[in-house]
């Protein structure tokens, strides 16, 4: 089985990273200044609260910081990992904020998404600096909170953890792209009517994001279940499960 996994991992890296990187983030200059500024204003309090939470949590246990660093790397890689979608003939990427929202809480997840997006905008031309606020709101804020709340609500309803994590990843992905559609529509519509353009953009995302959301859900579920089996103590420590639920 190990050989199959090794082959699988090598295949994934070879196939995925041998091409150009593709992105969903809103590129530099797409949004007019006033809309870009508005999304900045919306994003900043969430990022600031994330910093506050990180400081507060690290004061209790400093080993939380390397964990946040590790999750930042995970979100950075996942959110610039192009996945070809054969049903649409296009490429897109998952967001990773569903898993970070579940594990670290949505506030810190916003912070790490903001850092990942800033590095991508600065050095990889993946998203723009002027559109950083809009990208933080869609991927960081909406993605993290959607993932976190979906997981919490489903767990409160006594839904199986793997299923709850799957839907958390799925809704985090879809909510991110729905928000991107909203940001794009408000920014570019001019005198056009809002709803027809919003629906047009949202529908254009569906062929790619519908299957990719399912992939992100499966990935999130797999990661949570792996942690649950191998390191349930970490999930207890991060408040994802209670100590009685650990294996």
């Amino acid at each position: 089985m190990k050989t199959i996994y090794c082959f699988f991992l090598v295949s994934v890296f070879w196939f995925l990273f041998s091409g150009d990187a593709y992105a969903m983030h809103i590129s530099e200059g797409i949004l007019p200044f006033n809309w870009a500024a508005l999304w900045f204003i919306v994003a900043v309090p969430f990022v600031a609260y994330g910093l506050y939470r990180l400081k507060k949590v690290s004061a209790i246990d400093i080993s939380f910081k390397p964990l946040v660093g590790l999750m930042s790397a995970v979100v950075f890689i996942i959110s610039c990992m192009p996945i070809p979608v054969p049903t649409a003939g296009t490429c897109s990427h998952p967001c990773g904020t569903g898993i970070s929202g579940i594990l670290l809480g949505p506030a810190i997840s916003v912070l790490i998404a903001a850092v990942a997006l800033l590095i991508q905008a600065l050095f990889l031309a993946h998203g723009g600096l002027s559109t950083w606020g809009a990208d933080v709101v869609s991927m960081g804020v909406v993605g993290s909170f959607a993932g976190f709340f979906t997981f919490k609500v489903l767990r409160l309803l006594k839904i199986n953890m793997a299923v709850a994590a799957f839907f958390a990843g799925l809704f985090a992905d879809w909510a991110t792209y729905a928000t991107t559609s909203l940001e794009l529509t408000t920014g570019i519509r001019g005198d056009s009517a809002f709803m027809p353009l919003f629906i047009k953009i949202l529908v254009a995302f569906i062929p790619t994001q519908l299957p990719l959301g399912i992939v992100e859900g499966a990935m999130t579920s797999g990661m949570i279940m792996l942690l649950y089996k191998k390191r349930p103590d970490l999930l207890v420590k991060m408040g994802v499960i209670k100590s009685g639920e650990a294996l």
Partner: protein
């Protein structure tokens, strides 16, 4: 369904998606659902397309690292800075004991 079957199921989905996609571009597009000329990202096919239709064109990035080996240098620099920071804080991270190791870290947001 047993856990082993789940793993094989997800493995099959991933391999199918990846191989059919790469097959589409590398082998003439014969075994993907859609015979796309390019595997363009949704930034081009959706975001930039609709933006252009409404008169908004993407600008060139402020820092363009897509020149020669510049991107490799950026990764080298990031690795060096990250490695230095991790090494510098290593002792602090390893030796400092948590105040209450059993307390869950986040219960709220």
């Amino acid at each position: 369904m047993k856990i082993q079957n789940y793993k094989l199921f997800f493995l099959a989905i991933f391999l199918f998606l990846i191989f059919s996609a790469r097959g589409g571009s590398a082998f003439g597009g014969n075994f993907s659902f859609v015979n796309a000329a390019e595997w363009s990202g949704v930034d081009e096919t959706v975001v930039e397309k609709y933006a252009e239709e409404h008169g908004r064109v993407a600008r060139k990035p402020f820092i363009n690292t897509d020149q020669g080996d510049l991107l490799l240098f950026v990764f080298l620099l990031a690795g060096a800075i990250g490695g230095f920071a991790a090494g510098y804080c290593w002792r602090k991270l390893i030796e400092q004991k948590p105040k209450n190791n059993n307390a869950p870290i986040h219960r709220t947001f």
